[in-house]
């Protein structure tokens, strides 16, 4: 593994945004392909972040700044990656359900998933079921992720799933749900495919769902 890619991964872990962007550019100038830099530099770094976060060795703020460094590196690479390379792993449509404005958890999942090579379509917060359906139709994602942080809005996860069923689209995606009040049993009862308790698990679960 070329040294520069290892360094990119280390800097990313440490959250050093500008360094990551600079080194990514340098790697490209030295003749590496964008997808190699993405895979063995950025994604490798984020995977380490995910592992340590799950193990309890990293905390949310640290994950957030690592994710920012990831984004900085991606911004350099994105114009150079072909459409298929960016989509490489899959597409995720993600949003917080109708009536709910919380987004920190959602944004964390979004950044971790982008770090894992997913293309992200972020619908924001307070997303109506019909808008989830429209996004599925337009972007044809592999995964739909929903977040809710209120017991009063959790039921809209089910309404969204029903909207996908009615649209004849339910079988074309895997649905993943999360948020502090959500549980595995709840996910099963409403007909979701999976539940993830945190952003790192979300990435693992997503990979498993589309394998």
């Amino acid at each position: 593994m070329p040294d520069i890619l290892q360094t990119i991964a280390k800097k990313l872990y440490a959250g050093e945004e500008e360094e990551v962007a600079r080194l990514v550019q340098q790697a490209l100038d030295e003749g590496m392909t964008p997808s190699e830099v993405l895979k063995n530099g950025l994604i490798a770094g984020m995977d380490e972040v995910g592992r340590d976060f799950k193990a309890g060795d990293l905390f949310v703020p640290e994950v957030l700044i690592a994710a920012r460094a990831m984004t900085a590196g991606m911004n350099v690479l994105r114009p150079l990656l072909s459409k298929s390379e960016v989509r490489g792993v899959g597409t995720l449509v993600i949003g917080t359900v109708e009536g709910d404005l919380h987004d920190i958890g959602k944004n964390l999942v979004k950044m971790m998933m982008e770090g894992a090579g997913f293309e992200i379509v972020d619908l924001g917060t307070n997303v109506k079921p019909a808008d989830f359906v429209a996004a599925v139709r337009q972007h044809q994602p592999q995964i739909v992720g929903m977040s809710a942080l209120l017991t009063t809005t959790m039921v809209n996860m089910r309404t969204t799933i029903e909207a996908l069923v009615e649209a004849g689209l339910r079988d074309t995606v895997k649905v993943m749900v999360g948020g502090a009040p959500v549980t595995e049993a709840f996910a099963k009862d409403i007909g979701a495919d999976a539940y993830a308790p945190d952003a790192a698990t979300a990435v693992e679960t997503a990979r498993r769902l589309i394998a």
Binding site: G99, P129, A130, V133, A134, R137, T151, T152, M154, V155, R158, T159, E162, A163, V165, E166, A167, G168, R170, A180, P181, V182, T183, A185, F186, D189, I190
Partner: protein, 676 residues
């Protein structure tokens, strides 16, 4: 004495059974070949034969119940009349339905009709109207099609949550034309607008076909001086009056298998839970009986490439039967099926020269491997040269496969060709089958057992076994495969995906459970907790061993060859109304979704009480229309609450489903009418 006449038109045979209403006894039964071009002919023959069997007077027949494959076959074969499908508010589901577009020919395959009209309207998931119904567009569509279209189907987006637009559309069409109209919400209460639309369209297409059949059957019955009313079996095994079946023919898909399951139960005399296993020549069908009724598939029956929304009997079909092709696998063990061939003994009883040929092959196996090909009928129309040559080679009777290969030369891709011609019913192959094994073992004796013995010798020589021992292995293998499929079905019904069955660990445990590894240090017993009811002519030969492997009892009832006709005769009228109460956004209200609209309540139990008062009259009307005499009403309530994380408060209430079911006997003719 009042008798019910049960009739079933199957793939090969049409059966008739006369069942005494008071005792449930089968008084007589008969078979005739099914006449696919005009089903009523075979029906008439079977019924006449059954009546003649004990010289019954037609006046004694109080009820006729018919189970038919017409709907299933018509869908599979793509038959049906031109119909118009009106989609209300579907722009969310189908991009082609964007506001303003009409007549979508491109959707034919998905929606079962070329003629699709999209109009504005529709509701959301809570049953709130999203746009007013475009009544003008509906009127315009009907005017354009008057006289050209045999039936209409209407499906609204979320029409099962609020049926207002569908009913309004139906009323408009009924004002303007005599053509029958089907609505999505009348056929199901479940979501999936695309599948619902297809189901409604399929129903509309079938209406003229089923109407035609019923009219000719009624005429045939009158010709036999039978004046009793005619009822039709649905895919869930229940009976409906002929008039109902003519409005909702799609509900009759899978009626044959459903009747078969009910007939098996009746003949076996078992009231509780059981497994019905129907072993045929080509396939074995497995279905579960729960509380005396066939277990239905809530996902909807799949027929002819369409995933309908009709909840019919859940039958698991396996390519395993008395005429399955026996081959040797890589480890030289017999594998049975899934392909079907003619048994060697059957072929030889028609063409004795086959026996001579088999003797030659046994003497010198280089001459052949015990497989033959024969022509089934002369070809009509043009055929590619090689196919024509092949058929010419078969003009004088069946030929051994090897001889055919030598005659035609190497470049002709013989196996491919044979398979293609088999698919067109132009040729058939003959080879060793479990039926042959039974002939060798002396357990079945209808055709030429010498051919079976020779066929067994050929295969047994390849595995260094005595032919008898080899045949025992074949029979054991059929029993084992049936056991594996029962286990897979039982697990599948409990949510275990069938893909899991092929894992190495599962395979090893199963092998030990099925006595395939006698020297193992690990003994494994799998117990099926309910008994088997085995029907189908070869059942006796294979299934007792299957029951033994699964440590369960087996019942092999008599008259099982007409189980479907019996099942039709003993069917009940079963009608259901399902309503749902759901929380209505955050206002703390509860919305009740009834078949004819929605109503809001401040308290859950208020809504439940209202449903208990409003639904029974609807159910009564349905039960009457379907043809029930007296009936009992059962209500089940299912509250759905989902758990939240610890510390976040109580469960989340998702909704309450109330299912009202009426079960009754069909109304027989009072008094019996003598039409002679």
């Amino acid at each position: 004495m009042s008798i019910t006449l049960g009739i079933d038109t199957g793939g090969t045979y049409t059966d008739a059974a006369l069942v005494e209403q008071s005792s449930g006894k089968v008084l007589a039964h008969a078979k005739a070949l099914t006449t696919h071009r005009d089903l009523a002919i075979g029906i008439g023959q079977a019924v006449a034969a059954a009546l003649a069997a004990r010289s019954f007077s037609p006046a004694e027949i109080g009820l006729v119940a018919l189970s038919t494959t017409l709907a299933t076959n018509a869908i599979v074969e793509g038959r049906g009349s031109p119909v118009c499908l009106i989609l209300i508010g579907y722009d969310a589901a189908l991009p082609a339905c964007e506001a303003g577009s009409r007549e979508l020919y491109a959707l034919e395959r998905e929606l079962a009709t070329q003629d699709v009209v999209c109009v504005r309207g529709g509701h959301d998931g809570a049953g709130n109207e999203l746009a007013p119904l475009d009544e003008e567009a509906i009127r315009a569509a009907v005017v354009e099609r008057r006289g050209r279209v045999e039936a209409f189907a209407v499906s609204a987006y979320f029409g099962v949550r609020n049926s207002t637009h569908e009913r309004r559309a139906r009323d408009i069409i009924a004002e303007m034309t005599d053509a029958p109209v089907t609505c999505g919400h009348e056929l199901t209460t479940r979501l999936n607008a695309v599948r619902r639309a297809a189901t409604a369209a399929l129903n509309a297409r079938l209406i003229p076909l089923l109407r035609n059949l019923i009219v000719t059957v009624q005429a045939t019955l009158r010709g036999l001086h039978i004046g009793a009313p005619l009822m039709v079996v649905r895919g869930d095994g229940s009976l409906v009056r002929a008039a109902w079946a003519m409005q909702r023919p799609v509900e009759t898909i899978l009626s044959g298998p459903a009747a078969s399951v009910l007939g098996a139960r009746h003949l076996a005399g078992i009231a509780g839970d059981a497994w019905v296993v129907d072993v045929g020549g080509t396939t074995t069908d497995i279905a579960a009986l729960r509380g005396g009724r066939p277990r239905l598939n809530p996902e909807g029956a799949q027929v002819g490439g369409w995933h309908t929304m009709i909840e019919a009997v859940d039958v698991h079909t396996v390519g395993l039967g008395g005429d399955s092709w026996v081959q040797l696998d890589a480890e030289r063990r017999p594998i049975v099926g899934p392909r079907r061939v003619l048994p060697l003994c059957l072929l030889a009883s028609e063409y004795p020269a086959v026996v001579e040929e088999l003797r030659r092959q046994v003497a010198d196996p280089r001459h052949g491997e015990g497989q033959f090909v024969m022509a089934l009928r002369p070809a009509s129309g043009d055929l590619p040269d090689e196919d024509a040559r092949l058929l010419r080679e078969l003009a004088n009777g069946p030929r051994p496969l090897r001889a055919l290969a030598e005659a035609l030369g190497p470049a002709v891709l013989l196996m491919r060709r044979i398979e293609a011609l088999e698919a067109r019913w132009l040729v058939a192959r003959a080879a060793f089958t479990p039926t042959d094994a039974l002939h060798v073992l002396g357990r079945f004796n209808r055709w030429d057992a010498e051919a079976s013995r020779l066929g067994a010798a050929l295969l047994a020589a390849q595995v260094n076994l005595a032919p008898d021992v080899f045949c025992e292995q074949v029979v054991a293998q059929v029993a084992r495969r049936a056991a594996v499929e029962l286990i897979a079905k039982a697990l599948g019904d409990e949510g275990v995906p069938t893909g899991e069955m092929s894992g190495l660990g599962v395979g090893a445990l199963l092998a030990r459970a099925l006595e395939e590894v006698p020297a193992s240090a690990l003994g494994v017993d799998v117990t099926l907790r309910h008994p088997l009811i085995a029907i189908g002519a070869p059942a006796e030969a294979y299934l007792p061993r299957t029951a033994g492997l699964l440590h369960t009892d087996i019942v092999i009832p008599s008259c099982s060859e007409v189980a479907s006709a019996v099942g039709a005769a003993v069917g009940s009228v079963i009608q259901q109304v399902r309503v749902e109460l759901r929380p209505l956004d955050s206002r703390g209200l509860f919305r009740l979704h009834l078949p004819d609209g929605v109503l809001d309540f401040e308290a859950l139990e208020e809504g439940v009480a209202y449903a208990h008062q409003a639904v029974p009259p609807l159910l009564e009307a349905l039960a009457q229309q379907a043809g029930a005499d007296q009936y009992e009403v059962y209500v089940t309530r299912h509250d759905r609450r989902a758990p939240v994380a610890a510390g976040w408060g109580e469960e989340v209430y998702l909704g309450t489903e109330l299912t009202f079911t009426a079960v009754g006997r069909p109304r027989p003719a009072i008094p019996a009418v003598d039409l002679r």
